[in-house]
Every structure is written in structure tokens, then in C-alpha cells.
Subunit: 126 residues, 3 copies
């Protein structure tokens, strides 16, 4: 059920954007108890004036290659699962498409199981 929204600066080729999507999915499969094929993501590219980030917050040196990832998922994951997810997303994105680990921002939004319909207007998890 995760619904993933990725925001980046404009200018990356499709393969690069595809790799982001693939690897977030892969990391969720491995660490977050996400079923096979449970994959729903959008990516949005922004102009420079529409993509603001801190290059220093928490003493982490970020560049304009920053990837902002917002994941809406069911609540109930443990702190350990969340830590594992963040670590694995970073690990995989560093490999492909080749992002600096400093340039990965992740935010989780948690919702109830009954807050999803995956088709046919039915609350499949309720």
C-alpha cells in the first residue's frame, strides 16, 4: 500500500528517474514487509525556483541532486523497520542511479489500514 511521491530538480533522464522508483520499491520489499507488486509511485520534477532545500541542515552537505521521498504507508511498522527502510533506500540509490547518500531525504506518513482502496471502490484492507 505505500503510495510514494518523489520530488527532484528538473533535468535527469528517464532511466535515472526509473532507477529511483525501482530501488525504493526494492527497499520497501526487503525491509518494510511490502507485498510483491505493491508498487504505486509518482515522481515530479521541479524548476530551481520551486525546489528549496537546505545544503547544510543537521550538518549534512546536500546538493541540487537531492531526492525528496514521501511515503504514505500503513502504520504499525517498528522503529527498527523504519531505520532499515531508510538505510536500504540510501544504500540502493547510492548504487543506482548513483546518488550521494547526503542527497536522500525520506519522510513517512502513516495511515490506518482502512484508508486504502486499490480498485473497484472497495476497501481491500478493511
Amino acid at each position: 500500500m505505500p503510495l510514494v511521491r518523489v520530488s527532484i530538480l528538473k533535468g535527469k533522464p528517464p532511466e535515472y528517474r526509473h532507477a529511483i522508483s525501482n530501488n525504493i520499491y526494492q527497499a520497501m520489499r526487503e525491509t518494510f514487509n511490502v507485498p510483491e507488486e505493491d508498487r504505486f509511485m509518482t515522481l515530479t520534477e521541479h524548476e530551481e525556483s520551486d525546489f528549496a532545500f537546505s545544503p547544510t541542515y543537521l550538518d549534512i552537505s546536500r546538493t541540487s541532486d537531492l531526492i525528496m521521498i514521501q511515503i504514505t504507508a500503513n502504520s504499525g511498522r517498528t522503529l527498527d523497520q523504519k531505520k532499515a527502510l531508510y538505510a536500504r533506500i540510501a544504500e540502493l540509490l547510492v548504487k543506482n542511479p548513483g546518488v550521494r547518500p547526503e542527497d536522500i531525504l525520506i519522510n513517512l506518513v502513516e495511515v490506518a489500514k482502512e484508508n486504502w482502496s486499490f480498485g473497484h471502490g472497495i476497501a481491500q484492507y478493511a
Copy 2:
């Protein structure tokens, strides 16, 4: 107060996009206790490489016409209200703009009443 974000693949005409917006509003009016004129929605079109979805998850056969709908609303609705909302959104979108019922994904994010300002910098619901 719902704030609705719709994501679709690029290429649909304005009337099609308008019908999505109109009918989600209509469904919220009928099933979710949403006041008249309480209507705030954005729609974003994505390139193919930026719109990832499963064509099979939960044995629901989705196509690239998938409509991803994320609704942020006040918490407090019952499970029955949520089920009614999903069903009515699907029913209306199938009629107009003519979407397959498999191609409708809905996610609710719930927040507190005090988490809204509708103008003038005032928390109108608090």
C-alpha cells in the same frame, strides 16, 4: 476541508481531468459529510517514467489510465463512511470520464480539525 491530490499519466484532455475533479467532489458531498463548496483539489500529470503502478496487485488488473487519488481530510469518519466514499468515487468516475473501476486507487490521510486554515491565517475549525 478535504485537500485532494490526483495523479494521472499525461495525455488526457481538460474535460477528462475536470470530470475527475467534479466527481470526487460529488462523492465526498454525498458520502463523507463534506460541506457544500468545500472543494480544493489539484491534479498532476506525469510522464510514463514518472508514474509507476502495479498492473496486478491484489489481482486487480490496472492499466495506464490508473487514477491515484490522495485525500487529506479530518479524522473521525467511520469505516462505513470510508467504504461509501470509495464506492461512490468509483461509481461516479466509471460513468464520467469513463474510467475502469480497476483503475481507481484511493488513499486517505487523516488530520486534526485544528490543522487547517482556509484563509486570513485563521484556524477556522479550531
Copy 3:
């Protein structure tokens, strides 16, 4: 940690969009206990058919200059802090870029501290 998403109608110059971002950050600094440099925001411009809003809801007279602001932040702020945030955002945006106070919609989504990673795949707040 706030992650801010701003949605407006297409057609405003970069300086205008920049002023929105700067002033939301400023208001969060002043009222919401947000650390210096904790600034992560995206802005999206929409076509007319993709940007639906009520021109009258709650007897507030809105125009197509409406700015929809969705802020995801840690939970724990008091009602007074939220009210102060809304008021200060409105105050600053009225000054620059010069928005009508009726044209400012704000929504907060609250999450747990452990729901963030600001780089390196680490949950810095957990």
C-alpha cells in the same frame, strides 16, 4: 523537518514563487520551533483545469491566486503554535509576494519524529 508542498495556478514569475517559499520558511522559524536551515519545499504550478478551489467556502472570497500549502511536520505543536503559524504565514505572504489573505490555504499533516531521514539513510530524530 517540515516538508512543505505548495500548489498554485500556472503563470507566476520565479521571484513570486521564491517569495512564497522564503516566507513560509520564515514563518515556521518564528512560530513553529523550526531549526535554522530546516527548509525543504517544493512548489507545483497547475493548469486551470487541474487546480480546483471554492471561491466562497466559509464565506471567504478566493481568487485564482489561491496558494495551497501542505506542511508535513512532527506532531507535538500546541494549538497556539498552529494558530501562530497560520497567522504569520498569512501576514508575510500578504507583504511579499503580495497575496490576498483570503487566498492562503494551509493544511498540516503530523507525523512521528522517527518518520524522517535527512540523509545517509539515518533516522536523525529517532
